[in-house]
Subunit: 367 residues, 2 copies
């Protein structure tokens, strides 16, 4: 393929040319004053992105690694975590807990539906010994945005720790860690941050750091204690993904030049525009209304249409959308608006999708 692939998948997303140039620079050593300057700069910028005064630690892994670091850092075997499961990534929180012997109190939200805050309050009342509530900002598998501020209010300030997977949401859906009283936020590089995958991030509140000091869970590579100790000396415990961090500096520069709040407003407008166009085209949104994420939009695959085939034909045209995962396999299309995606990209994708759906529908009618 000669043309750049139009990547409107909810991760990985388009990587801007300034970032790509940085990724291909000659290698530098990580234990040098020059690289420490980069770490300091990205550290400051990440704080702004997370909306926190605390440090945002950098891990070399996919976003799941940061989720594991949060679970193993904050909880101990036998302790209880309430997990909001409204999609594949909510389920992932539960799987990680189970892998480490942490008891899961599930709050199952039908995929695509908004969270029932009353149900959360009732569950917390029934399980007074829950140590942490694990949730997702944008549930990438469905396109649902979970109301983090409202969840904190429902939990109460002195309640369990609030841990948020903002892997795909950060930079697109608003999240103010300190102001909203979030105790742990994890993020990945290949979504709103417009980088290739390979980096993950975790920021913790002072209350969460106290929990880390108490945790008895095993773990080595994903130890937040070890990461924090190294970070205090502007270092990482293990060799970091140097080229991605050099690229991260460029990506964060771009995001902060626009401003985090402005970036979220733009994403919100772009996602609203996408939903509006989808409705104009006569398709059905899988998620609509205030619980629709600004990072990714989900559209129902029309009855009788081979969704996978449509995605394949789009791919042959250099346009990459995602299908459904888990129980939504073959049932939805997902279009990301996060990161470097513009309205022109969205228009191109929707036009192409309309053409392919027309062909597919005709095949259904004549088939």
């Amino acid at each position: 393929m000669t043309r750049e692939p139009l990547l409107l998948t909810p991760g990985p997303t388009l990587v801007p040319e300034t970032v790509r140039e940085a990724l291909g620079r000659p290698m530098v050593h990580h234990r040098t004053p020059e690289f420490q300057a980069v770490l300091k700069e990205v550290g400051q910028d990440l704080k702004q992105l997370f909306g926190t005064r605390e440090e945002a630690l950098i891990l070399t892994s996919s976003g799941t690694g940061a989720m594991e670091a949060a679970v193993t850092g904050l909880l101990s075997p036998g302790e209880k975590a309430l997990v909001i499961r409204g999609g594949k990534f909510g389920e992932r929180w539960a799987e990680i807990c189970q892998a480490y012997g942490i008891q899961v109190v599930p709050l199952d939200v039908p995929w695509g539906e908004p969270l029932d805050l009353g149900q959360l309050t009732a569950l917390l009342k029934a399980h007074a010994d829950v140590r942490a509530v694990l949730t997702t900002l944008c549930e990438t598998s469905t396109g649902v945005l979970f109301p983090i501020r409202e969840i904190r209010e429902a939990i109460g300030k002195a309640g369990p720790l609030l841990v948020v997977d903002a892997i795909s949401g950060l930079g697109a859906d608003e999240l103010q860690m300190d102001a909203w009283g979030v105790d742990a936020v994890v993020c990945g590089s290949q979504k709103g941050l417009m980088l290739p995958p390979g980096l993950a991030f975790a920021a913790l509140s002072p209350r969460a750091w106290e929990a880390v000091a108490r945790s008895k869970t095993s773990g080595y590579y994903f130890s937040l204690k070890r990461a924090r100790k190294a970070w205090e000396k502007t270092d990482t415990p293990f060799t970091p993904a140097i080229s991605l961090i050099v690229g991260l500096r460029e990506a964060l520069k771009t995001i902060l030049a626009e401003g985090v709040a402005e970036s979220c407003r733009r994403h919100q407008a772009d996602a609203a525009y996408t939903r509006q166009q989808v409705k104009k085209l006569g398709w059905t949104l899988f998620v609509d209304g205030p619980h629709a994420s600004s990072a990714v939009t989900s559209i129902r695959v029309p009855e009788g249409v081979d969704g996978k085939g449509v995605l394949k034909r789009l791919r042959a045209r250099g346009i990459f959308l995602a299908g459904g995962q888990g129980e939504l396999t073959g049932k939805i299309f997902r279009i990301a608006s996060m990161g470097a995606v513009t309205r022109a990209h969205i228009d191109t994708a929707l036009t192409a999708l309309a053409e392919e759906l027309k062909t597919a529908s005709e095949a259904v009618r004549h088939g």
Copy 2:
């Protein structure tokens, strides 16, 4: 700095331009037939590099992640592992075991010295319940090469599993996984593979896979079971570091065009040349003889010389060597010959080191 840094550190190493170009290409999605073709190709090439018929799995992490995957995959809490500790990375094996409640039977080799095989045999006799022997191919912190084939012979074919950290050695020091009867080999991307850090690899023997089926250790991200299951469908369990895998394809092409055996022979000759030049220059090698690695050469810092200061001045000239770690801090210089390093690079580094040592020695004499 306008000139490319001359990176002769034992990781990260120089990244060739063909690889850097691949790293900066437009992002592609990992769950596409196009990327699966890349995974298949690098999978085949990795097998050749490891000298195995088994699959070499790809993890997104530093090399330490693959070490953790091996420990948690092969052993269960309470079981015994014999750890050959002759430097910082041997110590890391022990630390990971301890983090997961695995009993460590240490075999401490003085840093820089060769392994005493008789000591290994005696320890194994005294601890008949050892389930695995964990060792290092090239102990990067000292420059010592451990005799993997002889270790296997000492253990016996039916003996404990033999697990080798070949993170810095692979591609420079010979390692034939299948022929030598090694049960698990782990590797990292930023050493002999001439890539930025961020990828790790693990290959297991059929006997090791049986152990994985039995292991009761916790873990999620570094689960070899999960990685293998995904790999069977030409996939990874979590989003992989896509750009690094695209770069990996280029790096492996280069290595296999030369041939693994030929690459090892070249590295051996280059390391021997380095040691010869070091002696000609009147300095003392920290490791010499058959237990000197072909990946990295260690030189004693002359009496009274500020080793850190010398490295700093070399750095200002764009030449990056490493100092000692742990108990060797300030006591040695380390020059890597692995990956894309040429004799011309080695000559440049040694000439510059000679100049800086002359200045430093004069300062000592006149100080």
